[in-house]
């Protein structure tokens, strides 16, 4: 008779599970300490970097640049939050105030906006590079999935931020966007209602999008960025044609380590 524990054990031994949780199951103390030592926070950065891997031609620094725009977005976003009320009577006039009376307020808004555009562009560029260089292949397949999740979070951040100025462009963009969600079969209208906190774009929608934009999505992005970085190290460092780990590379000849 197969118990649920057995099922769980089998699940933990499956390829999918093992690609996510590398350490696997183990009963020994050594194994347990390994699980801790391989924890994400202890391993965000690699123990070593080959100088060759830092040449611009290898990565074009696309991932780093994406992270840089994210940091700009976080810092300008926090400053913008000091001036912005997510309420119907004030949201639009707050954006006007940022434009007209807050010292360098327009610069803040513009920096936030252009960084957001740049981030979306860089995420795509990063993914194209990873895709065409084949860097998504095992053992990096899980990090590719994380990357896709980060892409979705980036797009959702852009989408939720779009509503916050509370102008006509914002209103109708979100109206159209949320109506697309209601096209999902069977539960479409529920999703639509959940997203907006009502049937129309109104005060509830503004509040929800504000919380998503400033709280939930940035936190999620940070968590996944951390995992993303950690997995770079765990998957054998930055990928290039010549940096395949010996265990997987066809050409297992040892390379000069610089």
């Amino acid at each position: 008779m197969v118990t649920s524990a057995n099922y769980f054990d089998q699940l933990r031994k499956s390829r999918v599970w093992r690609s996510i949780f590398r350490s696997g199951t183990g009963a020994s103390t050594l194994h347990r300490s390994l699980v801790i030592q391989q924890d994400v926070f202890l391993h965000l950065f690699p123990t070593k970097v080959r100088r060759r891997m830092l040449n611009i031609g290898v990565t074009w620094y696309l991932g780093t640049l994406t992270f840089g725009t994210f940091m700009i977005l976080v810092s300008t976003g926090i400053l913008l939050m000091l001036y912005y009320h997510p309420s119907v009577p004030q949201a639009y006039s707050d954006t006007k105030d940022l434009q007209f009376v807050v010292t360098s307020g327009l610069f803040l808004r513009n920096l936030h906006r252009w960084s957001a555009h740049a981030m979306v562009f860089l995420v795509f560029a990063h993914m194209f590079r990873v895709f065409y260089r084949g860097a998504y292949r095992p053992p990096r397949e899980f990090n590719w999935i994380i990357g896709v999740i980060l892409l979705l979070i980036t797009l959702l951040l852009s989408y939720t931020g779009y509503l916050l100025p509370w102008d006509q462009l914002a209103f109708w963009a979100i109206t159209v966007g949320s109506n697309i969600a209601s096209a999902v079969p069977l539960i479409g209208n529920k999703i639509h209602f959940l997203l907006l906190g009502g049937n129309f774009v109104n005060a509830n929608a503004l509040l929800r999008f504000y919380v998503l934009h400033c709280m939930i999505l940035p936190l999620a992005a940070m968590v996944f960025i951390a995992i993303h970085f950690w997995r770079i190290r765990k998957d054998g460092g930055l990928y290039s044609h010549s940096s395949q780990p010996p265990a997987i590379s066809d050409r297992s000849a040892p390379k000069e380590d610089r």
Binding site: R51, G57, S93, F100, S104, D167
Partner: protein
């Protein structure tokens, strides 16, 4: 950290056989990195420097420079506050930062400064702190740059209102006429007169809708009145028949005019009741050729009706239709019946029922028949109508909305026939479809629509009006005042129009007053026109005997004015009914008219009053008591005032004229009790009989 490592790697001298991509692109890595950092720093400095060199700082500095040399520099400098200024009125949603640059708006001393943005605001009835700027001037109050504040930009559609439409902003709150807004008042009058509200709904913030004041005639009995040829010519071009015609030109084709005229004639029904009792009277040519003209003059027809004279000027009133070519229009038997009693054909007409004798009706009909233009209908030849034409005509009448203004049996007045204009004054520019080549502003759109409605697209229904440029500006002003702010104004600020009174006098006198159309000229209890004196308190003003005599034989009271009150040929019974009703009902509650006698004052008091009249108060500057000596032509003649007015009224009038008739130009001289009593005694001694006696 990653970036730091990257730096480290480029700092180390390259041991590569070939140079790295970085050095290929940027040359020496250290220098490249240095200059890039410098560039970044410089570009970051743009933000604070843009803030420092902002427009408003520039204007504040030049203001300080400007006032430096002035005599009142110390005062101005004390009033001046640096930094962004704003007027915040949460109740109205106003955040106005205009005074950041317009520093001198409230400085009464800056009379000699014409340089903007430092000019002071002209004297106005409101406090800037209470209303801000954009309530009247529009524009974007929150902005601190000239372009954003004044113009229409990507994120702001409402530019500043051109100065010539500024009165429209008064109309947002004030819906009753104001003395300071002639253009707005005229625009509203024109809108009512030309019946905009017949087709366009205009909802009022206090509830209800704007009413049109024109009274387009019913077309249900049109065949009794005129011919198909005239209808054809009229609907083709109403202004060709009468230059002052209010009906607009629908630019109909020949076929459309033919079919509409066919339909209207076919649709007409005979009027119930006998109206044509004088079919042959019109043929009786009067013995005196000038009798018609003098009867027309004596009856004061020109008070309401205009006629174009030989010089081409339209002379006369605009209450009734122009009569220049009336002979081309109406059938003689209809005209005779109309003059005899207009209320049979149209019970609600503004025309009084003159009690003309049959002979007078014939004379007047004959006179009006001569007012015709032999060429007017000369080229109109219509074949007999066909059922197809009638059916098509009915369709056209429905499509063009004829029934919106005219009563036409068989066609219902269409609801929401034309676009609603409740918020036209704040319609976003992005929702307007402009004609080619016109400026993309709301006032330009509205005035363009008034100038040439059909020029905007093919197939539009709005007809062509013949407004002058000044009239178009006036109507545009009135329309701009119908906006979002007017609709959402706090009740505290709204000054609604007092609702039109539907006062109706009772009984036989009431019927008589309707018959004589008293309300076409006089106002009573808020209903009626202001062409003639308000009669609301007439019973307290005059003496009954005088009133009866006046109704029998009206005469003017003011030498400077033309007499307008027609002689209606009332019977003694009718006169008694009217004067009884007026004397009994129209009394003011503020005093008892019997409290002072109308005669019998002691001669001493009369003499004292005479002294006061001529010396202390110099009443003869405006009034005449002695026709030989006095020259006052502004106020009414007082030669027979003792027979005309009630003594108590005279006394209270002298004490405080504005209390009895708000807005009268008679000055309040703050008379003492004694002076007022003496003057009353003197005035009441000026009696008709007394004069006749002295004359003898």
């Amino acid at each position: 950290m990653v970036l730091g490592l990257a730096l480290e790697s480029v700092v180390e001298p390259s041991k590569h056989r070939r140079p790295s991509l970085w050095s290929q692109l940027f040359g020496d890595p250290i220098r490249a990195f240095g200059s890039l950092s410098l560039l970044l720093l410089l570009s970051l400095a743009i933000a604070p420097s843009k803030d420092h060199f902002s427009q408003w700082r520039h204007y504040q500095n030049s203001y300080l420079k400007m006032i430096r040399g002035r005599g009142d520099a110390v005062t101005l400098r004390r009033h001046f506050q640096a930094g962004i200024q704003q007027i915040w009125i949460p109740e109205l949603g106003v955040v106005d930062r205009c005074t950041t640059c317009h520093v001198g708006v409230k400085e009464a001393g800056l009379t000699d400064v014409s340089l903007q943005p430092f000019r002071r605001h002209p004297v106005m009835p409101h406090d800037i702190e209470q209303f801000g700027c954009v309530i009247c001037h529009r524009g974007q109050g929150a902005a601190t740059t000239v372009e954003e504040a004044h113009m229409s930009t990507l994120a702001w559609e409402e530019p500043m209102l051109p100065a010539r439409y500024l009165e429209s902003s008064c109309g947002q709150c004030h819906r009753a006429p104001l003395t300071g807004t002639p253009q707005l008042n005229e625009g509203r009058r024109l809108m009512a007169r030309y019946g905009c509200a017949h087709c366009h709904t205009v909802k009022l913030p206090e509830g209800g809708s704007l009413e049109a004041e024109d009274d387009a005639p019913s077309l249900s009995h049109i065949a009794e009145k005129t011919t198909r040829e005239w209808i054809y010519a009229w609907v083709k071009d109403p202004q060709a028949y009468a230059a002052t015609a209010r009906m607009p030109n629908f630019k109909l084709s020949d076929e459309e005019a033919r079919d509409i005229s066919a339909f209207l004639i076919a649709n007409s029904t005979p009027i119930s009741g006998d109206t044509f009792s004088l079919p042959t009277a019109a043929q009786n040519t009067p013995s005196d050729p000038t009798a018609g003209a003098s009867l027309y003059g004596e009856s004061f027809c020109a008070t309401c009706h205009a006629v174009q004279n030989a010089a081409g000027n339209v002379v006369g009133g605009d209450i009734g239709p122009e009569l220049t070519r009336i002979g081309n229009k109406v059938r003689p038997e209809w005209l005779a019946a109309w003059i005899k009693n207009p209320r049979v054909y149209d019970p609600l007409t503004a025309m009084p029922h003159y009690r003309f004798s049959d002979a007078q009706v014939a004379v007047l009909t004959g006179y009006l028949q001569t007012k015709s233009d032999s060429e007017f209908l000369a080229n109109v030849h219509l074949d007999p109508r066909t059922p197809e034409q009638v059916a098509h005509g009915k369709l056209l009448c429905t499509e063009y909305g004829c029934a919106s203004c005219h009563e036409i049996s068989g066609i219902k007045k269409a609801e929401n026939f034309a676009p609603e204009l409740t918020r036209i004054g704040s319609k976003p520019i992005s929702q307007l479809i402009f004609a080619a080549g016109m400026p993309h502003t709301l006032p330009a759109y509205i005035s363009g629509k008034l100038r040439q409605p059909r020029a905007f697209a093919a197939g539009l229904k709005m007809p062509q009006y013949n407004f002058t440029a000044a009239q178009i500006d006036a109507i545009t002003t009135a329309l701009l005042s119908l906006n979002e702010r007017a609709q959402t104004l706090p009740a505290r600020l709204s000054e609604p129009l007092s609702p039109a009174s539907n006062y109706q006098p009772a009984g036989r006198a009431g019927q008589l007053m309707n018959d004589l159309a008293c309300f076409s000229c006089h106002r009573i209890n808020g209903r009626g026109s202001d062409l003639a004196p308000d009669l609301t308190w007439e019973g307290s003003v005059v003496q009954g005997k005088w009133l009866e005599e006046f109704l029998r034989n009206p005469n003017t009271l003011r030498p400077a004015l033309i007499r307008r009150m027609p002689k209606f040929n009332l019977t003694a019974d009718e006169i008694a009914t009217l004067s009884d009703y007026i004397m009994t009902v129209y009394q003011t509650p503020s005093f008892d008219r019997e409290s002072m006698p109308n005669s019998g004052y002691p001669a001493v008091l009369v003499e004292e009053g005479r002294q006061l009249f001529y010396s202390k108060y110099a009443c003869q500057s405006c009034h005449i008591v002695d026709p030989k000596a006095d020259k006052g032509y502004i106020g009414p003649t007082l030669t027979e005032v003792g027979s005309r007015l009630n003594a108590t009224w005279v006394y209270h009038w002298l004490k405080d004229p504005q209390a009895l008739r708000p807005g009268t130009i008679e000055p309040n001289r703050n008379l003492t009790e004694e002076d007022a009593r003496a003057l009353t005694a003197f005035l009441m001694s000026q009696k008709e009989s007394a004069r006749q006696e002295t004359r003898k």
